[in-house]
Structure formats: structure tokens, C-alpha cells
């Protein structure tokens, strides 16, 4: 039996997943207003197709993201079809959207790991600062920076796996 046919189920699904769905919608559409519409449309479609959701097959989160992905494609097409940009407007291909979803998941996973780990990964890897410099700034031995990079990557992997990432 579908798990989203009742309005109360939709409310619970919204409470659990709206933050992530909205975050990804903003990331991929680049517009807060459109992102709101995308999330609204996603839950409406989910409710309408609630009979077809089967928790035995996949998680509610994965299903909602699959619907959102289609909504984002539709909204992207609608935007491309607006008169101002209609001439030569190109439909967004699927690839950049998959890429955007992955990028957003990595960013979200980075936000979920501990502050110490995030800080060290940001400074040493993203900003390419020497370990010694970051160690001095944080007042810890250089070896601690190295171990935080290691445990940070492991934590990142766990956070990504919680979001459905597989190698």
C-alpha cells in the first residue's frame, strides 16, 4: 500500500525532508522563488502518486529526490521557454543536474561532519594552506591536522552514505 496517501503522511514527509529538498532546489535552480515552487510541486506530485510509493523498494527520501529532479527539469524547461530567452534557448541536459545533485550532496555532507574536521578540510584542501600554518593557527600539533584530515574524510564518507551515496 502507498505510504503517502494521507495528508498527515505528507506533513511528516515534509518535516523530515523539506530542508534538504529545498537546499538542492535552490542550488540547482539558483532562485529562491522557483525553489519554493519546486518543493511545493514535489510534495503535490508525491501526494498524488502516493499509492505508487513502496518503502520496500526504496527510501522516501530517494523517491522525493527523484520527483524533485523531474520538477527541476520541468521548471528549467519552462524558464527556457519564456519569451525573453526563447530564441536559441537550450533545454537543460540531464548531466549537469546529476552533477548539481552530487555537488550539493558533497556540500551537505561537509556541513554535517564535525566543525574541527570541516575546518581542517576547508583550510588544507580547498584553500591549499600548508598543514604547519593551519596547525599554528589552531594551536595544535601538525600531526593532529593530519589525523583530522583522515577522520574528516571518513566522516564525510559516512555522511554521504547516509544520503544514499555508493562507490
Amino acid at each position: 500500500m502507498g505510504a503517502l496517501t494521507r495528508e498527515r503522511d505528507v506533513r511528516e514527509a515534509y518535516a523530515a525532508h523539506s530542508g534538504e529538498l529545498y537546499g538542492f532546489a535552490v542550488r540547482s535552480l539558483g532562485d529562491a522563488g522557483l525553489a519554493e515552487e519546486a518543493v511545493q510541486e514535489t510534495f503535490l506530485r508525491a501526494w498524488k502518486a502516493g499509492d505508487r510509493f513502496d518503502p520496500e523498494i526504496g527510501s522516501l527520501r530517494t523517491w522525493l529526490f527523484a520527483i524533485l529532479r523531474n520538477v527541476v527539469i520541468d521548471l528549467g524547461r519552462a524558464r527556457a521557454a519564456r519569451p525573453r530567452v526563447a530564441e536559441g534557448g537550450v533545454e537543460p541536459s540531464v548531466e549537469p543536474l546529476e552533477q548539481a545533485l552530487l555537488a550539493w550532496q558533497v556540500e551537505e555532507a561537509m556541513r554535517r561532519i564535525g566543525e574541527d574536521h570541516r575546518r581542517v578540510l576547508l583550510e588544507t584542501h580547498f584553500r591549499a594552506r600548508p598543514y604547519s600554518e593551519v596547525a599554528e593557527e589552531l594551536g595544535v600539533p601538525e600531526g593532529t591536522i593530519k589525523s583530522r584530515v583522515y577522520y574528516g574524510l571518513r566522516a564525510l564518507r559516512v555522511a554521504l552514505e547516509e544520503m544514499g551515496y555508493e562507490d
Partner: protein, 237 residues
């Protein structure tokens, strides 16, 4: 090899996977990896994640958390309640045949209808209001009917004459100029162009109804003095 040494090698694998080790240390770790199956397996697991990092934008990671507006959940519930009520009105019985789940859905529809019928006071006339959009471009026609509900306002909108595929975003505005989204639809040539929408704003508070169609915006005043237009179709039988 002592356990302590092994642990040290392992801790270097994060920096190694990210390509952030100085050349001499990198060579030393590589030499250790040659002879250590456990570290090779660990490295393999880290490399998958390390390869994804270039996708991330550090400014977005550190930027303020993006959260949906506080009223978005209520708007979604209102829209679903309106759709639910509409399904009941047009006597679409699909959900009623789905066994237990259908029965629950039917109860939900009945509950929404009960709420919707209450303000009708006997059900002879509906307080629905038809609004007029003035100064539309040649060939464009927009009509809207607004109906009060416990959850807010239901809006039935009919659009014609705009470019097929145009995204139409409908909203209500109150006396203070605050805008309440009523959702969106796409206008399609040849398709049913009546859209059913809903907004969380009470009809009694609405001053303006409007639609952003493509890059144009059209509005119509909501007349608070009028409460009319017949044809209550709440036959919850």
C-alpha cells in the same frame, strides 16, 4: 611492524588520498602501501570520497544554511487540501476503491468537504467571487474565481492567449502588500487551461489576485464588498 607505526601510516592516508602530502612523505606512504593490504583497502575507500570533493564549493559549505520559508509547509498542506476537496467535488472515486488506504483518503476528503461546506450556511449560494483582469494585451484573456476555505483561498484560473509553455505563477496580496503564493501552472495550447490553485491567505484578507505569466505580471482587485456568484457545487454525495 609495530601497531603504533601502522596507525601513523593510516592517519597519513587522508592527506595521501587528497594529494596533499609533500613529495617525500608521499613516496614513503607509497612504499608502505606496497606491503600493506589493509592500508590499500583503506585508501581505496577514502579515494572515492576524495574524488568527489572538487565538486563542492567551499563558499556554499560555509554560507548560511538555506532553509525553506516558514509558511511553505502550510501552503503545501493548503494546496493538497484544496486538491483533495476538488477530487471529492468532481466525484472522482478512484481513491475510494483502494481498500484501507482508500478509506482513509476518503475520510480525509470528507473531512475537508465538511470544513468547506460550513461557511455556506445552508448551501444555497457560494461566497465565491469572480474577478476581472483589466488592461490585458490583445488576445490575452484571464479569468479567476476565488473561493474561501478554512485553509485559505481556492483559486480557479483560466488563461488563454499567452505563449504555449508559459509558466504562470499565481499569488494573492493583502492590504499590507504582502504576497502569498498560490502555486504555479503551465499554459498549454490545446490543453485544459483551467488551473486549480490555492493560497494560505484568507479571501477576506485578499486585496489583489495576480499572475506572473512569463515576464509579464497581470493583477485584478479583489472586491471585499461582493460575495457572490452562484453555482455552489459542493455536492458531497
Amino acid at each position: 611492524m609495530r601497531t603504533e607505526d601502522h596507525r601513523d601510516w593510516k592517519l597519513s592516508l587522508g592527506a595521501y588520498a587528497l594529494g596533499d602530502l609533500p613529495a617525500d612523505e608521499r613516496a614513503a606512504v607509497a612504499a608502505h602501501l606496497e606491503g600493506c593490504e589493509e592500508c590499500r583497502a583503506e585508501l581505496c575507500s577514502l579515494e572515492g570520497v576524495a574524488a568527489l570533493l572538487p565538486l563542492a564549493d567551499p563558499d556554499r559549505i560555509e554560507g548560511p544554511a538555506v532553509r525553506p520559508p516558514a509558511d511553505l509547509g502550510a501552503r503545501i498542506e493548503a494546496q493538497i487540501a484544496a486538491e483533495s476537496a476538488r477530487e471529492g467535488r468532481v466525484r472522482r472515486r478512484r481513491r475510494f476503491r483502494l481498500g484501507v488506504g482508500g478509506a482513509v483518503a476518503a475520510a480525509a476528503v470528507a473531512a475537508v468537504l465538511a470544513i468547506a461546506i460550513l461557511p455556506l450556511g445552508g448551501g444555497e449560494s457560494s461566497p465565491a467571487q469572480q474577478v476581472k483582469f483589466a488592461s490585458l494585451p490583445n488576445g490575452v484573456s484571464i479569468d479567476a474565481t476565488l473561493e474561501p476555505h478554512a485553509f485559505g483561498t481556492e483559486i480557479e484560473m483560466y488563461v488563454s492567449g499567452v505563449r504555449s509553455g508559459t509558466l504562470c505563477r499565481v499569488f494573492l496580496r493583502d492590504a499590507q502588500g504582502r504576497t502569498y503564493s498560490a502555486g504555479s501552472f503551465r499554459y498549454r495550447w490545446g490543453a485544459d487551461s483551467h488551473a486549480q490553485l490555492s493560497s494560505a491567505l484568507d479571501l477576506s484578507q485578499a486585496k489583489v489576485v495576480g499572475v506572473h505569466a512569463g515576464n509579464r505580471t497581470f493583477t485584478a482587485p479583489v472586491d471585499q464588498a461582493t460575495a457572490l456568484i452562484g453555482g455552489a457545487d459542493f455536492d458531497a454525495t
